[in-house]
């Protein structure tokens, strides 16, 4: 697939994100979802989708209109050093997300003591995942 086609798909996805975001916001603010967590979830997801969609559309249009900018962006995206750095960041990001999940679970268990056992089980699962991720990163780094 060429780069221009990818940009057009990105543009279409941007429109789709906005539509989904608007739907989520309508559901949140029309009172169809109960207040509290579902409302926050719908409104937050909707707002995020709308913002992402707008950014994606603006970026795609800018690149589709300007050939030199498009060429630079293509080089930046497919540059092997950038891809190498990106892969390393993804590994770190995964580990960091798991640590955050671990802390959030611990905090939630302290807030609701009756849910301590399920939370503790979740924490154990988190720890297992952390170990697996660490082993995976270690093996991958030793192979590079």
């Amino acid at each position: 697939m060429n780069f221009e086609k990818k940009l057009k798909i990105q543009l279409a996805c941007g429109i789709l994100w906005i539509c989904l975001g608007v739907l989520a916001c309508v559901a949140a603010f029309s009172g169809k979802v109960s207040s509290g967590y579902p409302f926050t979830y719908c409104a937050g997801t909707g707002g995020g989708l709308i913002a992402t969609g707008f950014i994606q559309i603006i970026k795609s249009i800018r690149l589709l209109k300007n050939e030199s900018l498009r060429k630079k962006e293509k080089i930046r995206l497919y540059d092997e050093r950038n891809i190498f750095i990106q892969k390393q960041i993804y590994s770190l990001h995964s580990l960091f997300s798991l640590v955050l999940l671990y802390v959030a679970t611990l905090w939630a268990a302290l807030q609701r003591p009756e849910l301590l056992i399920p939370f503790l089980l979740l924490m154990l699962a988190d720890v297992a995942l952390l170990f697996l991720a660490a082993i995976y990163c270690n093996i991958r780094n030793s192979c590079e």
Binding site: I75, R76, Y78, D79, E80, R81, N82, F84
Partner: protein
Amino acid sequence: MKTRIQELRKQRKLSQEELANHVGVTRQTITSLEVGKYTASLLLAHKIAKFFGMTIEEVFLFEEEDES
């Protein structure tokens, strides 16, 4: 890994940006290659060597300690 990229580029009076555009990478990648902070893939090494009209061994100076 040591390379002769900077030397060869200067001989041909090229900027890092121009060389980067010719081989399809960013200027930052050329900088990293020149200072030895990044080791090029075989494909990129081939592209650079081909651009200078040389072999990979003539552009990229492989040393025993690079193996570790």
